[in-house]
Symmetry: C4
Subunit: 304 residues, 4 copies
Amino acid sequence: MENVNQDTGFGERSADMGGRMVNKDGSFNIRRIGIHVHHRVSNYQNMLTMKRWRFLIVILLVYLLINAVFTALYWLAGPEGLQGVDYQQDTWGQLKQLFFFSTQTLTTVGYGRINPVSELANWIAALESLVGFLSLAIATGLLYGRFSRPKAFIRFSNLIVYSQYKGGKALMFRLVCYKDDHLLMNAEIKVNVRIQTPDNTYRFYNLRLERSHVDSLVLNWTVVHPIDEDSPFYGLSQKEIVTLQPEIAANLTGFDEVYSSTVVARISYTIQDFKFGFKFLPMYFSKSKRTDLDLAKLNLIDQE
Amino acid sequence: MENVNQDTGFGERSADMGGRMVNKDGSFNIRRIGIHVHHRVSNYQNMLTMKRWRFLIVILLVYLLINAVFTALYWLAGPEGLQGVDYQQDTWGQLKQLFFFSTQTLTTVGYGRINPVSELANWIAALESLVGFLSLAIATGLLYGRFSRPKAFIRFSNLIVYSQYKGGKALMFRLVCYKDDHLLMNAEIKVNVRIQTPDNTYRFYNLRLERSHVDSLVLNWTVVHPIDEDSPFYGLSQKEIVTLQPEIAANLTGFDEVYSSTVVARISYTIQDFKFGFKFLPMYFSKSKRTDLDLAKLNLIDQE
Amino acid sequence: MENVNQDTGFGERSADMGGRMVNKDGSFNIRRIGIHVHHRVSNYQNMLTMKRWRFLIVILLVYLLINAVFTALYWLAGPEGLQGVDYQQDTWGQLKQLFFFSTQTLTTVGYGRINPVSELANWIAALESLVGFLSLAIATGLLYGRFSRPKAFIRFSNLIVYSQYKGGKALMFRLVCYKDDHLLMNAEIKVNVRIQTPDNTYRFYNLRLERSHVDSLVLNWTVVHPIDEDSPFYGLSQKEIVTLQPEIAANLTGFDEVYSSTVVARISYTIQDFKFGFKFLPMYFSKSKRTDLDLAKLNLIDQE
Amino acid sequence: MENVNQDTGFGERSADMGGRMVNKDGSFNIRRIGIHVHHRVSNYQNMLTMKRWRFLIVILLVYLLINAVFTALYWLAGPEGLQGVDYQQDTWGQLKQLFFFSTQTLTTVGYGRINPVSELANWIAALESLVGFLSLAIATGLLYGRFSRPKAFIRFSNLIVYSQYKGGKALMFRLVCYKDDHLLMNAEIKVNVRIQTPDNTYRFYNLRLERSHVDSLVLNWTVVHPIDEDSPFYGLSQKEIVTLQPEIAANLTGFDEVYSSTVVARISYTIQDFKFGFKFLPMYFSKSKRTDLDLAKLNLIDQE
C-alpha cells in the first residue's frame, strides 16, 4: 500500500500513545506536563477562546479586584486623603464610599464630589487612572481579538457512513459552512486514518478521496473515500474493520473572505461513529429562483 | 472536452439548484435554513459589512437603549440615590435628568453636578461606567474592523462581449482596480461556466483563458476566453449558446499591498449580460509623461 | 527570445502609455480619471500612509472643527443652557468658554465647573460625548493601523551598473533590509524590462537572474542579470542599449517575521540610472565575532 | 555533492563574515551601521518585542514625562490659570497640585475640584486632553500589538546529537510546541549547514532530512539528518567534523491556528552543541486514554 503517511506528527508505538488522537471537538488528545503552568498556558489565547459568559465574569472579577486593591490603598492613605467622604458612616460604609470613588477613578468618570486632596491620595489616584487607562487598552485589545479571530464556521456530520458507491464501497462523511454569507474559497481536505495492528503498533494512512478540493464551499460537501486497492480497508469485512479500531481524522483548510484569512477545521471519527449500510440524504433543494440549504439535515441518514 | 470542472462546490442536478449560482453583487444565491438565525448569522460580520449610515444608526440606537435601561435603574434606586437632580420637575423632567446623568456616566464624562450618593445608585453607576468602558472597547474594535477589512476595490464590466478574436471568436469581459494607489499583485482569475443540458442537468467547465495571471493589476484587464476546441461554446451558433443558458462566474484573487492581504472579487454573467458582435473600447491613454486610466469607460463597447 | 512577459499588466502600444511604468518611489505612473474623487480615493489608506506630521495636523484640525461645531450648537442652545459660564465676558469670551466646555465634553474629561442644565444643552452634550467616544475609537484604529501596517524596510541602490561578470557582462543593482532585527524570509525578486521598439511598441521581458531567491535576506543582496543569449540586451553595444530606452522594474516580496506578513517592495530604473563600466563595492565586513553591515555604502560604486 | 545552497543570503568569504550566522536566540549575528539609529530602529517593533516589565516601565516613564511637561505649562500659565489650587503651599507643593491636575486631565478623569479658568490654562488643558486621548489610542494599539503578535511557541533542544541511525549515523535535534492547545499545522523545517574550508571560505549545504514536513506538530519532533552520500559529513570522523567548524541553522515555519498566521522559529547549533555518541530519550507516554508530553525531558539524552 502506497498511502502510508509518515508525517502525521503522531507516534507509531501504541504503548506510547493513549486513546484517540483528536478529540470530538477537534482538539488534540495530548496533555503537556513537566513545565510550569505559567509557561505552558497562553493567557491571551485563553481570553480569546473562552465562552462569552466566562469572559464577562473574568472582566467583572478583575474590575472588582482592582477596585478592592485601590480601596485598600485609599484607606491606608487616611481620612484626610479624600474630600467629600462622609465619615459619619461606620467603617464598612466608609470603605464602600472609597470603593465607589475608586470605580469613578478607574473608569475615568471622575464625578468629583469625592476627590483626592492629600499628596498620597493624589498619587494613588494618578496611578489608578493610569491603570484604568491601560485596562481599557487591554479590554479593547481582548474584545477586538475575540471577535476578529478567524474561525471556520464548519459543522461536520456526527457519523461516517459505509455505503455502496459506484459498484463498490466507500466511506463518507459530510460538512457544511453554516453561517450566512460565509464560505470557504479553495477548500482543501486531508483525511488520515490510524489503525492498530495485531503487534500493537499504529499505522497511519492517507485516505485517497474522490475529491479533496472545492473551489467555493457554499453548499454541503460530502467527502468520499472509495475503498479501492489503495485503501487500507480494501477487501475487509465490517468485522475486520472494527478490529482495526480505526480513527479517521480530517483537516479542512480554506480561505475565508470575511476574515481574509486561512481558517482550519478538524474532526475525528472513531469506530463508534461508523454506520455500516447507511447513506446521507440530500440537504439542499431548489426553491424557485434560489437554492435552500437545510442545515438541520446535516446528520440525516437512511438505510440503503 | 477536458475542461470539465467537478470541484465547483455546486450540484449537478438542476432540479436541486434554483436560479443562478452567483448574484450580480458577487454573493452566492443560497439561503440557509433549518437552524436558528442566532447560529446562522454572524453579528460581527454584519456590523463589519453593513452600510455606513446603518452602522451609525445601530450605534445610536444602542447608545439610547443602554442609557434608557440605566435611567430606569436610577429611577428604581429612588430620589435619594442621586444628588443634584431637580425634583421640582415633573416625572418626565426627572427621568430626562436621570437619562442625561446616565449618558455622562456611560461616556465617562462625569461632570459631577449630578452624582450618585446612595449605595444602590453608586453600584449602578459603577456598573454603568464599566459597561461604558467595554462599549468603548467594542466600538473601537468594530470601527477598526470596518475600515481595516481587506476589500478588493475591483469593478467588473456589466457586460460580456462575444466578438472576433485572432481569426476566431472569443468571450471577453473586463475589470479594473478603481482606487488610487491600490493595485493587486499577482492577480489570478479563474472562470467557470455552468450550462444546462437538455436532460436537465448542469455541467461545469473551466473556461481556458488567453491570460489568467497578471503581475500587477494597475490598468484594466480584459479577460479573454478564446472559443477553440476546448471551449464548451465551440462551433455553436449564437442561438445555441442562448439555449444553454450559460452562467459565467469568475473569481479574482490577488495580493493587496495596502492591506497586506489576499483579497477576492467575484462576478457572474448570465445570458442577459451577453452582447454578441460587440467589442470593448480602450480605457487608457498616454497623457504626456503619464498614463490616464478613464474609469468611466469601463462599460464602453462598440459594434464590430 | 523566450522570456517575453505578456503578463505584466501593462499595455504594448507606446502611444497609449505615457512615460515610465513605475515611479522612483515604487508607485505606478498611472492617474485614474472618470469617476468622482470620493469613489476613487480611499480615506483609510490615505490616513494610513500620510506622513506623521501631516497626520497629526489632520487630527488637530478635526479636533478643532468638531469643537467649533459643538460650540456653535451650545451657543444656539442659549445662555441658560450651561451652568458656570461667565456671561460678564463679551461674545468672543463667551464663545471661548463654550469651546473649552466642548473640549472637556468631547475628550470626556468633564471637569464639571461648567455643565449642561437645560434639556437642549444636555442633549447636545450627550451627543458630543458619544461623538468623542467614537472619535477615540476611530483614532485608536487609525493609529494602530498606521504603526501595525506591514512595510518592507528595503532600500534599493540608486543605480544599476553594467559590468564584467564571469567572462561576460551583467546588469546589477542591490538592495538591503535596513532595520535592525528585521529580515525577509524567502525573499523573491522578479525583474521585468520594458523596451521601446523602432515601430513604437513596447516589449516586455523577464530578466533571468543568477539568483532570484534568498532564504533569509539579512545582508545586502546584489541582484545580477547575466547578459547571455536569453537576455534582450545580448550582443548590444552601450549605445544600442540606450536607444532601447529600457525601464527595469523589480518586485521584491518576502515574509517579514515582525509583522507576520508578506511584504512587497518595488523599484524602477530608467536609462538615466545606468552606470556602464562600474561595479559595486562590498558593504559588509567581519568585525571580530560579528559582521558589520554598512548601510552608508549601499550606493558605493567604483570604476572597473 | 549536490546539496550546495547558494541562496542562504550569507557571504562565502570567511574574511567578511565574523563569527556565527545565527545567535542562540534565533536572531542574526549582524550589526547595521552607517545610518542614523533613528532610521535603523523600528520603535514599534521594539515596543512590541521588549520584555513585559520593561514595557511597563516605559509606559510609566512616558506618563510621568508628559505630566511633567504639562505641569510646567500650567505653571507658566500663572496662578490665575487654575481654580481650586491651594496657593498657601510652597512652590513644590503648588507644582505637585498642578501635576495631579495634569494627571486628571491626561487620563480624562477630570474630578473638577481643580479646573482651568483662564484662557491660556484652558487651551493647555484642551491640548492635554487631546494628548491623553491619542495616548490612549497609542497604548491600546501597542498592547493589542503585543499580545496579538504571532509567535511560534517552540523550544528546540540545546544539543544536537550524533548517533547510530538505521545502520549508519545521523545528526538529530528535536523541538516541541510547548503551549497548551497550540500546534503548528503543516510544519516545515529547512536545515542549512555552514562549514569552513581550509582556504578560508565558507560553504553552505542543505542538509537532507529523513522528514522535513509534519502535518500537525503536536508532539515533539526529532529532526533527523542521515549522514549518507549526499551529506557534507559523509565519511568524516568526529575529529574531522570538528575541524569543519560547522554551524547548523534551522528554520521552522508552520501555520498557527490561534493566530491564524504563519509563524517562524529559528535555531543555530555550533560545534560546542554537538554530542557525539548520544541519543534522545522519549518525551511522551501513554497515560490511560490520553498521551502525556513531558516538556521537562526535551534535552534528555543518554549514551548509546
